[in-house]
């Protein structure tokens, strides 16, 4: 095998540094935060919150896999985050349904009963 091909193979097989996963998680968190801030539809706001929770999960699992002293605790926290997210989406959609029944809209900027 020529040395150039070996070099290319080594580059392809190199381990990803921890920063790679963390930066992907940070960008995904930012995208979710943007969506939660600018979208009007309450259901889409929930989807964006799920995106943010998933970004945090990715960071937790990356830390659990890369840090030797973490002893895998991040994976346990990721399971807890998944359970909390499931509870959140169930209660949140129930609230959206109740709001839709009384106000006939799910746009978050039209539900302004408590606005001063």
């Amino acid at each position: 095998m020529p040395p150039q091909a070996q070099q290319v193979l080594d580059t392809l097989n190199a381990t990803i540094p921890l920063e790679g996963y963390l930066v992907v998680g940070a960008i995904m968190f930012a995208i979710g935060a943007w969506g939660a801030l600018v979208r009007r539809n309450a259901v889409v706001v929930f989807m964006c919150i799920e995106l943010m929770l998933n970004a945090v999960n990715l960071s937790l699992v990356a830390f659990a896999d890369y840090l030797p002293d973490a002893s895998g605790a991040g994976a346990g926290y990721a399971v807890l985050v998944i359970a909390v997210a499931a509870a959140e989406v169930a209660v949140g959609l129930a609230v959206v349904l109740a709001v839709y029944r009384t106000r006939k809209t799910v746009n978050v900027d039209e539900v302004n009963l408590m606005k001063g």
Binding site: G76, L80, V84, Y100
Partner: protein, 178 residues
């Protein structure tokens, strides 16, 4: 490794952007499930196949279906104009999001992560179970957290039923309105 990483990162981030920018709510939900699939691929790369299975079962399966049910109950399927899906804070919101993302990425990447190597995670299902129950050297607080999270899930499900239940004589169906 690097090819899989770039593919998964592009898939996750592009589909996540699609969730925010899609004009159709159903498309948003489907793009979100694709983004979650990308995260499941990351979990496989990070030696957590059990979490990848959880991710596919719970997020790609259950959460997407629940959100699609929510869409079914609350919207009429129609493509809206771009101005009507975004509220007035689009540019301040974009500035805040870019600020948050740049700050997080900067803080996380200036740290000295040399010496961290992969393959420390709980690859075996049994190891993850021991961590979740706080036995065999795992932090013992996890036993308490596990119980609390179970009670929280039960309370949340009961609350979801109570909140979304129709009381007699209150509210009307869409069909009755039309």
């Amino acid at each position: 490794m690097i090819v899989a990483f770039i593919f998964l990162a592009a898939m996750t981030l592009i589909l996540a952007l699609g969730v925010v920018l899609s004009r159709n709510v159903v498309h948003s939900a489907l793009l979100m499930s694709g983004s979650f699939l990308g995260i499941a691929g990351f979990f496989v790369m990070l030696n957590a196949p059990v979490l990848a299975a959880f991710q596919v079962l719970i997020y790609v399966g259950a959460v997407t279906v629940v959100i699609l049910f929510g869409i079914m109950f609350t919207q009429r399927p129609q493509v809206r104009g771009f101005r009507t899906i975004i509220n007035r804070q689009i540019w301040p919101g974009l500035a805040v999001a870019i600020g948050v993302g740049a700050f997080l990425a900067y803080v996380l990447s200036i740290q000295d992560w040399t010496g961290t190597v992969p393959n420390n995670g709980p690859r075996e299902t049994g190891t993850l179970g021991e961590i979740l129950l706080g036995v065999n050297g795992a932090p013992p607080i996890f036993g308490l957290l596990f119980e609390v999270i179970s009670v929280l899930l039960l309370v949340a499900m009961v609350a979801a039923i109570v909140i979304s239940r129709r009381k007699t004589g209150e509210g009307v169906d869409r069909q009755e309105v039309e």
